[in-house]
Every structure is written in structure tokens, then in C-alpha cells.
Amino acid sequence: MQIPVVRNILEANDRIAEELRKRFAVQHILVLNLISSPGSGKTSTLERTLTDLKDEFTMAVIEGDLTTDNDARRVAATGAQAVQINTDGACHLDSGMVLDALASIDTDGLDILFVENVGNLVCPAEFTVGEDAKVALLSVAEGDDKPEKYPLLFAEAHVMLLNKVDLLPYVDFDLDKATRHARALNKDIAVYPVSCRTREGLEAWYDWLRQAVAAKKAQMRPETGKED
């Protein structure tokens, strides 16, 4: 017999992500899912951000890697709470892993939770982890064709950070082309050229974070429809 099903295959992931989203909404925590290829500077960007904004916000990081806790140790050195998830070979984080990691984080008074995904432009884009926004990071050394080659991520991201712009004189990277292609996929995407090394452009990214935190704080509680 034929049995009609019509069920989203990733429904289990989406269900946990929805629970996480409700919890973060109640606590007004801004949750950002950082996605990029390996080596584009996710951890460096976090180190800078956590250090520069440490007096403004309380921040925590969930680090996803195949193995090692190198990144969690780097991030924890800034004073922020950091938890490492080792996926043991899996190419992306899923919402269940983030739920488990949250048990090790004190979320009271937290303003921002960064989830640094496994370095990969493909798979993490398919698995929501309860984030408010995906932040795509692309370093200029990788080439300006990445939005064209990995459209799903750039179509879904709220922000594209173009990192390592201090290398622009040495690489064939067309900032306008990368920006135009990202906007073709996603006309509202915010694009910030930055360099974690020279600090160029970081202030614009911080302003985006400030606005996003303020917007999250102003959001009404989902279950009551009332403001806190």
C-alpha cells in the first residue's frame, strides 16, 4: 500500500530549534550562527568582538569543531564563557548539540550567544540551531565567487562579513562583485568588509550587533504578547 507522508525530513532538528528559539526569546538573548569555510577567520572575529565589546555586553560562545578544543580555549581567553562541541566527524552542528551545550552555559543576563559552526559553507546552512540570524563570513583570500557557488548560505544569512580586507592588494578579489552576488540572492543582506588584523571596518559590524541586541531586548514575550 502507498502511505502519503509529506513530512519535512529535518523536522526533528527544526522542532528542537523552535524550542531553543522560544527559550532565547523569553531570555531576550540574541543568538547568531556563524558560518564560513575553515580558515576564514570565525574565531579571530569572535576574539576581537568579545574583547572589544566586553564592557557593553555579556557574551558566550558555543564552538563547533570536528575535534580539539583549541577554539574554545582561544575564545575563553577573552573572558567570555565558551563551550566546545566536538562533532566527531559530522560536518555541521544541529539543534540537539546546541541544546546539550547550553547545559554548560549560564544564560542569566546573557546578551549574545555566538554559535561558531563547523567550518563548511554547505551543510550548516541546512540545519537551524535556533538562531536569530546567520552570519556568513568570507575571507577575501577565498575568492569572490563564493556567494555564487554556495547560494543557500548567502540567501539565508542576515550579514556577510568580508574578512581579511587588508589582503585586498595581494589577491584578485572584487568586493563589488561579491557584494552584488550576495545581494542578488538576498537583497537585505548587510555586508561589512572587515579586517580582524588591522581592525578596519569592525565598528560597522559592532553597530549591527548593538542594533540587533536592542531589537531583541525590545521584542515581546512570545507566549504572552506583553513586553517585560
Binding site: 502507498q2 502511505i3 507522508v5 519535512n8 554547505v122 541546512e126 547560494p151
Partner: protein, 118 residues
């Protein structure tokens, strides 16, 4: 290789639906995947075989069908299907020519449509 995670989720849903309908032998399962959903049919087929091996689902066929992309123009609202549906870049709207920021109506989905079982 997130096809492995997808195959595991697939098995979970198939087992639930089979129990619900009181059937025990799976013949085939039909999956529809959007052209933009970053699913490689060959890799999913491989993962499906790997996770069903030595289980009661072993030998069941996995049928996959791609859902083409449908867009809504960001400027005039016209709905259209681009000729090359595996890419989203700079596709001009057939009615007004706008090529930026179209809304994706179809092409990102990933779901089980039905299963055949006894």
C-alpha cells in the same frame, strides 16, 4: 556529508509512519528535494543504503525527485521559474528585467512525500 544526518532522520520518520499504519516491509520511499537544498542524490542514496543495511528496511528503494526553483520577482511580483534552476544568481525577471533579490517560493524544501509498504 550531511546526507548521513538526513538519511538517519529519514529512517526515523519511515519507522514511525510504518508503525502508525501497521506495515512491516518497506518497498520504497519517495523524497522530494529542492534544487537549492544542497542535497546530493547520489550521496543520499549511499547514506540510505549504509544506515538501512542489516535492518528491516534493507533493500527498500529510495526514489528522489528534484523540485525546481520558483521565484517571485523582488520588483514587480511576477512569479517565474528560471531556466537554469540550480543557480540563483542574477536571473532577470521575464516581465520587468529585475535581477536582484527575488524571493524563493519553491526549491528549498526537503520532505518525504510517501512510502510504499506492505
Amino acid at each position: 556529508m550531511h546526507e548521513m544526518s538526513i538519511a538517519q532522520s529519514l529512517v526515523g520518520i519511515v519507522q514511525q509512519e510504518m508503525a502508525k499504519h501497521g506495515v512491516t516491509r518497506l518497498v520504497s520511499v519517495r523524497v522530494r528535494h529542492g534544487a537549492l537544498a544542497a542535497v546530493v542524490p547520489h550521496a543520499l542514496e549511499f547514506a540510505w543504503q549504509a544506515v538501512t543495511q542489516d535492518t528491516s528496511l534493507a533493500g527498500a528503494r529510495l526514489d528522489m525527485e528534484e523540485v525546481p526553483v520558483r521565484l517571485r520577482c523582488s520588483s514587480c511580483g511576477q512569479e517565474f521559474a528560471p531556466e537554469e534552476c540550480d543557480r540563483l544568481m542574477l536571473i532577470p525577471c521575464p516581465s520587468c528585467g529585475e535581477d536582484l533579490g527575488h524571493e524563493v517560493l519553491e526549491g528549498k524544501e526537503l520532505y518525504i512525500e510517501n512510502l510504499e509498504a506492505e
